[in-house]
């Protein structure tokens, strides 16, 4: 990774932005640490306020530099290889918790606030935001939104779109626009905020986000159910869903994953039973019965199981994620057993949400073909396969999001509307948007 000298447009940007926002923090010495897919920016700029962020964007557009917004960098592996990259817009200086309203169960934050810090602040009030993406402890809120990152709580609480109620974004022309608001129910205006979730900063830079949050459960217990095989573990996870047990998470772990995470070497269902004390007791009881009926064994693993899971599945090396229907999860894992199984991969599935993750050691020369073959297999059952991380050489050969559908035309028009000169995260999105 070489730290490139600022390009000509970058030098112009530097001059413009220093003039327009004299106090703004600009640097280039650690630019290499902001590299995306091996491409390092010449300049790192850290706006500390909304007006500074607006200036950065409008001057970036004027000088036509390619800019990528960066949070903590924990999920930068997601997305296609950038077409160009001159300037990193670091949101590390926008870290205000703008409003925390415990009695309204809402919170408004700037994008650089770290998820772990937000959870701690909310925890003081007995509340939490139900997003726990792998490797996300150090991640920023802006990054979690831009990557649409989620973790085991997907089982019970969906994705960011279920909790984000308002957003302010700054567009390529420097205009700042909000949508939604700070109330939990609101149908005024289009839900523009939904477009920025998972957009990797291609439509604008997130400047502020408002979420509804939840009360923390009074009781939480983590249990591990050791199962005979993938299909049995899957069936058990769906059976637990079907009887409505009080679970906040139910992850299916492959033997290698179970060994790394929960100290056992068989297919395992790792579940968080949470809620009121009585509901948790009842759920544990029933889960034990379901496990016994399936010939599986239930016990309580070490407390470190979830942190270990989170560390194991942070996108790195070669990380893939399938999305489909819950009923297909077992079949998809079997379909891909040759390509991605065989003990080489760490596999984890949120079966009730139709999500499967694989983390493999960096692939060799055949990896791109392997990914395409795996993608073709899951496409036959209607599922999707996204590459969350891969070596750059491989990323150059594929679209990490897979083949676009007919709605790509609308997506391109949307990009054209918000970023006509293609300066924001160019090339990183689906269809190289």
């Amino acid at each position: 990774m070489s730290s490139a000298a600022p390009s000509a447009p970058a030098a112009e940007f530097l001059a413009l932005v220093s003039h327009a926002a004299p106090g703004i923090q600009i640097r280039s010495k650690d630019a290499a640490t902001f590299a995306v897919d091996g491409l390092a920016p010449g300049i790192v700029v850290s706006p500390a306020s909304l007006p500074e962020l607006q200036t950065v964007l409008s001057e970036a557009q004027r000088s036509r530099v390619a800019a990528i917004p960066v949070g903590a960098g924990t999920h930068l592996s997601i997305g296609n290889v950038p077409a160009r990259y001159d300037v990193a817009i670091s949101l590390e200086a926008m870290t205000r918790v703008v409003a925390i309203e415990p009695a309204d169960l809402t919170v408004t934050v700037e994008p650089g606030v770290r998820l772990v810090d937000l959870q701690e602040r909310l925890g003081e009030h007995g509340q939490f935001l139900p997003l726990n993406p792998p490797g996300g402890e150090g991640a920023t809120i802006g990054g979690v939104l831009a990557a649409n990152a989620f973790g085991p709580s997907r089982y019970a609480f969906g994705t960011a779109r279920d909790w984000l109620i308002g957003l302010r974004a700054v567009h390529a022309d420097g205009t700042s626009a909000k949508s939604g608001g700070r109330v939990v129910k609101n149908v005024a205006g289009y839900d523009m905020h939904k477009l920025h979730i998972g957009a990797l900063g291609t439509l604008g830079v997130i400047a502020e986000a408002t979420f509804k949050v939840l009360p923390l459960p009074s009781t939480r217990r983590t249990v591990a159910v050791t199962c005979g095989g993938a299909r049995e573990a899957c069936e058990l996870a769906l059976a637990a869903r079907d009887v409505g047990l009080s679970l906040h998470a139910a992850e299916l772990l492959s033997p290698a994953t179970a060994a790394a995470v929960a100290g056992r070497s068989e297919w395992t269902l790792l579940a968080e039973v949470a809620g009121g004390a009585a509901a948790v007791e009842r759920s544990l009881r029933e889960l034990r019965v379901l496990a016994a009926d399936a010939g599986a064994r239930l016990d309580e693993p070490d407390q470190v199981a979830w942190p270990a899971w989170s560390a194991a599945f942070q996108p790195r090396g070669l990380a893939l994620r399938a999305g489909g229907l819950p009923s297909q999860v077992a079949s998809i894992m079997e379909l891909l057993d040759v390509e991605l199984g065989g003990g080489r991969a760490l596999i984890s599935a949120t079966a009730a949400a139709g999500i499967i993750r694989w983390v493999l050691p960096d692939g060799g020369p055949g990896t791109a073909a392997l990914i395409e073959a795996a993608r073709a297999s899951v496409a036959r059952v209607g599922a999707t396969l996204v590459v969350d991380a891969a070596p750059v050489a491989i990323k150059h050969q594929i679209d990490v999001f897979g083949p676009p559908r007919a709605d790509i035309a609308i997506m391109r028009r949307l990009k054209e509307q918000f970023d006509p000169q293609g300066i924001l995260s160019p090339g990183r999105f689906m269809g190289r948007i």
Binding site: A177, D191, M192, G244, R282
Partner: protein, 500 residues
């Protein structure tokens, strides 16, 4: 920067065509003569929605398939005429009204439940499926469709998608947007495209998320994939009776602040009780100032615990009495009063105007006091029935439009109450939509740049502005007179079947 904004003024947009004889003939060719009406006598029935708002279309088509919708839209596109989608016409903001004429596409004949996938808890439906019919169809499988607008016996899923409809049980489970996975959409040029799909994880921008709640301005949904929710094993409904509205709204704030998110948390005040109780005998005391209808559901153990906690909070906040209904019949009776409350208002006054605003839940006591104060100042009676748990107010202004000058006072008070919601940090609509009614209020919460961003989304879908013109955005050229006429009629009366 401002000069980069697309203008909101539609004056410079392509001129809107009118529906000519040739256009009607082509519509008939496209979808079949029996699916098109165009004579003034026939069209009258489609001037209205639940608001008495009026706008006369020049043609109405009744397609029965995606292909027919696309064919009709292609004809409209060729003639450059506006297209307004319409479901059951139960909307409360004028969304289904042909504000500037053109073609209305009625989706009520597309009412097939195409597929129910019990294992994956989803259904694929056509837009004309009635909300409650879907829940009934899947009840045998232990499932239901969670969003429950009070009009759910009549309103359609397609209309719910357009308005991002809410309902009493959206407190814990969210509004329509949280339950839609994908939509098949006919775009303004007649192209058919899927947004989202059968599951969440379809890569790309969340266009389905942006489409829900777009009030018929981006396209027509012809198939909708919805999430189904497991019916809870246990439900407990509490009726808490209060001697002051303040105590009731403090109890609401206290329940939320205690970290309890019930399945539903509704408030009805004295005037609502007076309208409902003599007819339905639900057991709401006539001398109470307010009652709360609170429902908790889930595992039996959870509902016992939550009902107990809610009971205690109500008692602490000086509830005169708290009744708990566990049997289905008792619960149904408590809810019957709630669901019929707006239409029962017709017993008290010849006219009423339903408002829809949202405030942070902590602001409920103060805002409600001011709502009563505003009504008293302008000499109007007001009845409140609303989704207290999410701060979604529905003040109903009661009046007699035959008394000269009254309508103007109603409009003035309505606008003032909306302003109050905005000043409290809230919104001008929680579930009814902006439509025609609130286009001129939307500038109170969104500035030119906010609206400019929304205009860019509109342009990505419908650059020619064919779909549902003069809705959801501030008044522009060619739309101004529509608003005035609308507001007068809006305040003049409401139809018989109004639900919030």
């Amino acid at each position: 920067m401002a000069d980069q904004l697309r203008p909101l003024d539609p004056g410079d947009k392509p001129p809107r065509g009118t529906v000519t004889r040739a256009c009607v003939r082509d519509l008939e060719r496209a979808v079949g003569r029996e699916r098109v009406i165009s004579t003034p006598e026939e069209l009258i029935a489609f001037e209205y929605d639940a608001t008495i708002e009026r706008g006369t279309p020049q043609a109405v088509v009744f397609p029965e398939s995606t292909e027919q919708v696309a064919a009709a839209v292609r004809v409209a596109h060729r003639y450059g005429v506006p297209v307004t989608p319409r479901g059951a016409g139960t909307g409360l903001s004028g969304g289904a009204i042909a504000a500037v004429g053109g073609v209305v596409v009625v989706l009520t004949r597309m009412k097939r439940i195409i597929e129910v996938d019990v294992a994956n808890r989803l259904a694929v439906v056509e837009p004309g499926v009635v909300n409650l019919d879907l829940s009934r169809a899947v009840a045998g499988d232990g499932l239901y469709y969670a969003p429950d607008p009070s009009s759910q016996r009549a309103c359609t899923i397609g209309g719910n998608v357009a308005e991002n409809a809410g309902g009493p049980h959206c407190l814990a489970l969210g509004s329509t947007t949280n339950h839609v996975l994908g939509v098949e959409v006919v775009l303004a040029d007649g192209e058919v495209v899927w947004l989202g799909g059968r599951f969440r994880d379809v890569p790309g921008y969340d266009l389905a998320g942006a489409f829900v709640g777009s009030e018929g301005t981006l396209g027509i949904a012809t198939k909708i994939v919805v999430r189904l929710t497991r019916l809870p094993e246990s439900t407990r409904t509490l009726l808490a009776i209060f001697d002051t509205v303040d105590d009731a709204s403090n109890a609401v704030s206290a329940i939320i602040a205690a970290g309890i998110v019930p399945a539903a948390l509704e408030m009805m005040d004295r005037n609502i009780i007076a309208a409902v109780e003599p007819v339905l005998h639900c057991g709401y005391p006539l001398d109470a100032e307010a009652v709360l209808l609170i429902e908790v559901d889930g595992l039996e153990e959870a509902t016992v615990e939550q009902a107990g906690a809610v009971h205690e909070i109500c008692a602490v906040n000086r509830a005169r009495e708290v009744r708990v209904a566990a049997a289905q019949a008792e619960r149904d009776l408590l809810w019957a009063g709630r669901k019929a409350s707006i239409s029962a208002l017709g017993r008290l006054y010849p006219n009423y105007y339903v408002l829809d605003g949202v405030v942070p839940r902590t602001k409920l006591p103060a805002v409600l006091r001011q709502v009563y104060a505003i009504a008293a100042r302008v000499g109007l009676a007001v009845a409140n029935v609303f989704h207290a748990g999410d701060g979604n107010l529905h003040p109903n202004l009661l009046f007699d439009a035959r008394i000269p000058g009254t309508t103007a006072r109603v409009l003035e008070a309505g606008a003032e109450i909306m302003r109050l919601c905005v000043d409290a940090g809230g919104s001008i609509t929680g579930e009814h939509g902006v439509g025609l009614e609130k286009r001129d209020f939307i500038g109170w919460i969104f500035d030119e740049h906010d609206l400019g961003a929304m205009t860019r989304l509109k342009a990505a879908f419908d650059a020619g502005e064919r779909y549902n013109p003069c809705k959801a955005f501030p008044t522009g050229k060619g739309c101004g007179e529509v608003t005035q006429v609308h507001m007068q009629r809006m305040a003049a009366a409401l139809g018989d079947d109004v639900y919030v």
